[in-house]
């Protein structure tokens, strides 16, 4: 594939897009792992939400 005389600009645009999408995805996945770990830790220490104690499904 020939990207012509402006290949540097095209490659730079795709590199930035890959970086931004990868960073955003990694940030969201890591955030999920962190929140899940904290929640599990709190539950292990016997702290439960009010809805769990009353048996209702509300948040």
């Amino acid at each position: 594939m020939n990207l012509g005389p402006h290949a540097d600009f095209i490659i730079a645009a795709y590199a930035v897009a890959i970086f931004v999408v990868a960073a955003m995805t990694a940030w969201i996945v890591l955030d999920y792992v962190t929140q899940r770990r904290i929640l599990d830790d709190l539950e292990e220490r016997g702290i439960t939400r009010r809805s769990h104690r009353t048996g209702k499904g509300a948040p």
Binding site: M1, N2, L3, G4, P5, H6, A7, F9, I10, A12, A13, Y14, V16, A17, V20, V21, M24, T25, I28, V29, D31, Y32, Q35, R36, I38, L39, L42, R45, I47, T48, R49, R50, S51, G57, A58, P59
Partner: protein, 246 residues
């Protein structure tokens, strides 16, 4: 499951857990298809190979505006009905919308340098998109710095509604003012001016980016619900400790 049931965060989390793997797989498949089309698309008769930047720039621009429109609708849910999921949706959309707007600005600049001879020009389209990016940063700072999350959410909702004025300005800036940015060439009266050999991969990439936005948004909403549960449980823990020590 009725639509109203999804408004319950617990049921919403169950639905997201089931949907996310399918959405992630669909996003990857659509990107493989879209990128294959984009990389094999012919050069434009004027832009040459730099037209390949448009396959990133145009969907990013659409999703930057879509993110703000989503936040504006959610802002109504926060201010009028005070529904917690509305604020969760707005807060989760803000960083994703900001990232797409940033991508739109950067890829536009990288296209502008070889085509216009400059990375930046203060014309109405470019300036209004820059304002959108700054508005996103404003909303994020309100969410991230407010001591009381409820007050931060209401302030962010008001800013989202005020900033919604900028969306039609971005869209019609190329018609209302004399801009260096080209006028609408895809969604316009009389049909698109783009050749199908370029238009089809552009739509494929737009669908791929939209699926990515939806997937990341739902995942970020799930994180935000969990974060609020952590906060509530920590407050409960602090209350229990205070009661035990008194």
């Amino acid at each position: 499951m009725a639509v109203i049931d999804i408004a319950n965060p617990t049921r919403f989390l169950k639905l997201v857990d089931r949907l996310l793997p399918w959405l992630a797989a669909a996003t990857v498949l659509m990107f493989v298809y879209g990128l294959n089309g984009a990389l094999h698309a012919p050069d434009d008769y004027q832009q040459g190979a730099t037209v390949k930047i448009m396959f990133l720039h145009v969907p990013s621009a659409w999703l930057g505006m879509f993110g703000w429109a989503l936040m504006s609708v959610a802002a109504l849910g926060t201010l009028v009905w005070r529904h917690p999921l509305a604020d969760v949706a707005a807060k989760a959309a803000a960083p994703i919308g900001a990232a797409f707007t940033f991508l739109c600005l950067v890829t536009g600049s990288l296209w502008g340098r070889p085509m216009w001879g400059t990375y930046w020009v203060w014309d109405a389209r470019l300036t209004s998109v820059l304002i959108l990016f700054l508005l996103y940063l404003g909303v994020l700072s309100l969410y991230w710095t407010a001591e009381d999350p409820g007050r931060g959410a209401r302030a962010a909702a008001i800013l989202a509604l005020v900033g919604a004025v900028n969306i039609p300005i971005i869209k019609f800036s190329v018609d209302w003012w004399n801009t260096l940015h080209q006028p609408a060439s895809i969604f316009r009266m009389g049909g698109s001016t783009i050749d199908p050999s370029i238009l089809h991969p552009l739509f494929a990439m737009a669908i791929a980016f939209t699926l990515l936005f939806v997937t990341l948004h739902l995942a970020a909403m799930r994180n935000e619900i969990l974060r609020r549960r952590v906060r509530a449980m920590r407050l409960m823990q602090a209350q229990q400790l205070a009661e035990a020590s008194s």
